[in-house]
Amino acid sequence: MEIAHTDNTSLLRRLSPGDWLFALVLAGAAAFALRQYGGFMDIYDKAILALVVPGLAAIGWAWKPFRPFLAASAALALASISLYGGDLARAEQTFFLKYLISSQTAIMWMSALFFIATGAFWLGLVARSDFAEKTGSALTWCAVTMGTTGLLVRWYESYLIGTDVGHIPLSNLYEVFVLFSLITGLLYLYYEGHYATRRMGAFVLLVISAAVAFLLWYTFSREAQEIQPLIPALQSYWMKVHVPANFIGYGAFALAAAIGAADLLVRKGILASRLPPAEVLDDVMYKAIAIGFAFFTIATILGALWAAEAWGTYWQWDPKETWAFIVWLNYAAWLHIRLTKGLRGPMLAWWAVVGLLVTAFAFVGVNMFLSGLHSYGSL
């Protein structure tokens, strides 16, 4: 098992002209966005846009395949925007919009691609087919690209409904489920590259497929896909930072649970010859929970800062807040046991799997069963 080479020399010294070009293109894109849409932003929105540039640059520098993904998503979104030309009705008239890159269609493509990718990964696992796994991987890349395009276009479409309606599509359960699928997909693709193995795909994609299945049910049976304007409490730049940070956390925890399940099987000797060794799975599980915990901590704090502005208090034990706290405690305990006690083995894997139940309850269950201030997507 090879871990992709990491160097100790300082990051800046390792950067190639290509890296700098990437950063430059990002800065250019931000400047373009500012020129084109700056009128709809307040000073905080602009600051967030400015901070996104180094953020994406850092990801692109550390993880090269992220760049073509970003470029493709941006190109597709821009193509869609130019096809729209400011007229929502074109979504019904233009072939490419209707069947490829309008937001709903792109999200449907994302859903289909995730399903097919899951099938390909399982075929690869069962038939020991390298080709099938490569296909699964490529399809996952396509899926996250379509999903990202879908969200970007949805953002644009919301402004076409009315400038007072327009907002970043992170405001309800439907939109964040798309975000969850994408982020989990991207995290998986990162670890796939980092550990140079596609064998974990079958398990991670199962979790994503479950999320996509929910998304489709939510679309077809509850008609949840229609863009809704924002209630006053949600009209804030905080949404742009709080929600993504939260979903990096949720996505990473979901990934850790999928890997935990694989880890348990391997330890029982099931699929052991087809999956990566338990040692690798254990390492991925730890990395995912570490990054998830770090971002979940940030997200919860950002949420508290926002709550202080919107509801007048940074913490009031609203069910969503309390469940976020419970999720945080859960993974804090997990990390303590692993890092301080040095514990390894099936117990932590079980814990990671059960952790997903706690996380899922905080994510969806609270909206379904409990009521509170934070119910932006009821079922």
Partner: protein, 679 residues
Amino acid sequence: MRHRSTSRAIYELLSSMRFAISLLTVLGIASIIGTVLKQNEPYNNYLNQFGPFWFPIFEKLGLYAVYNSVWFLVILDFLVLSTGTCIARQTRPMLKDMRGFREHAKENSLSQFQHHARVLSTRPTGQARDAALAYLGKAGFKVRINAREDGVLLAAKQGSWTRIGYFLAHASIVLICFGGLLDGNLPLKLQMALGGKTTTSGNQLIADIKPESRLGLDNWSFRGNVFIPEGKSANVAVLNVQDGILLQDLPFSVSLRKFHLEHYDSGMPKRFASDIVITDTATGKSVEKTIEVNKPFEFDGIMMYQASFEDGGSRLRLIAHDLRPGSATAPFATGGAVGDSVKVPAPGFDYTLELGSFRPFNIENMAKDEQAETGLAANLEKHLGSGARSPTKKDMRNVGPSVQYKLRDSAGQAREYQNYMQPIEQDGAWYLLAGMRDSPSAPFRFMRIPVDADGKPDSFFAIRSILLDKSRHAEIASRFTATALGKDASEAIRGRMQETTRKTLELFAIGGFDSVGKFIESTIPEAERNKAADIFIKILEGSAWEASKLARASAGQPAVELDQKHGRLLRDTLNATSDSQHYGAPLYFQLAGFDEVRATVLQVTRSPGKPIVYFGSLLLVLGVFAMLYIRERRLFVLIKDSGDALIALSANRKSMDVEEAFRRHRDALATLLNPPAQP
């Protein structure tokens, strides 16, 4: 001695990982309780929910405000204690560890490391040392050199900051808990316990509230609500504590100029904003400001937030229509402000009108349900395209203002009513909707009062009052008989017809269609009931037509044709008249006009813990990242004069990266110490 060891044991337990993990688990489980049971509801709700036996037990357990209960705070305190002792216990060894290089490590112990390798060093010791030193420096290590008898040991380390991360993350927990405690209701509880403050009931005038229920300007931590109607001002906040209230004096007064309430086309709220003027009591200086959701404002250390809004006592003008059969009271005007209780201002009505709420507009979806397209392809197609497309047909329309009131009789019994001001179109005709319900939990049942072409319900009331007036039944019966039978009918038939009509009207006047239906059921064989019902309906419709003609004549209005439209009005009038028998009130209050007055509710807080919590949060983030992402590594390179070298690596955590890092450093150093021969 024994005492010492006991306290030592307690200290060790408190600072142990076992204890910390158990605490995190207990805290997690305890937190769940408050999410399952709705917190801080009025006590009556809990009493209804749990009954008189469980209610006081749960109250004692603090389940209605779990997060402020003593036992929950005790668990939190233990968390602080556990974290605190853990920090205290770890500080010295950690600092020592951070500073030290362990340059005196023995060869023997280095060779016990999990990651170690022996390599050849073919270069002179000095050269080899310098080469290794340069490599380590470049790789980001700090190095300490220890020359020893048999060679030299380079003790290198990196990533010691991860230990600082530990302090930051754990100290932040203590800070956050402490700050949170200052902002919670503990300060208030202390004032109530030590300062002799007691809560009082909310149903009294502010001026009547006694000093022991008022908190002074020196109170440094509170959270309360200020209610201000448009054009009025307030200088006290109301704090809801358990099942009572406390008043908090403010060092300023806030007056509300205007409250802005904006909606999207769909009726969803879009903007709540209060234009306020704040006047400092001490200096008399004023500041004008608009407070919105997500845009709070701080004045004199007190934060003000847009919390909600209410009616501020809108003036309503109502027209009361007498519904009593046979009564001749003409419609009369009444009214009052929302929140008022008004005696009905007409003789013979011993009723109180309680004006509950007023809505200046109601946005409803008036679209008709349509047949959904079936088939998978069609269904998929429906969900493609833009996210802006509405999956269901919508026709959002403002159906105008509505008022909700209770009418209480002299016995204290009340029913609740909800009336719309403007006619609303339903099934092609226009109606005034008048809703009624017996209990607050039931939905409103609506009586549909048909209106004339000018939108007024006059025809309905006129026809209704004739139809229900016993003294006019004979007159209507004879007119109806004349119209229905023509001139040729025999006197006997005419008489029977008149009698049947009179009887029908009498039944209808008692309980509407219900009474007629019951009469049919009790007197007519089952096989003939449908036919009989048709006849009764025809009689009633014909009578309504006669009543309509009489009403128009007495009002001096020209006669009308019995066309389809008027026929519809007559049928609707009959339906509404029948429904009005079950309306449960002698009066229908039509909303005729209003002057809306809104009130804002601002939340005002003084939270001294906030900066502490925010600072703690910053430390927490820094600490978590430092702990998880700064990797501590120690690399030992022992170069012996004998041409032998030992490379050993240790890390504070086991992970796959350690293995990989060791391999990389070992290979690089091996090449440096034993360079391949130049070709």
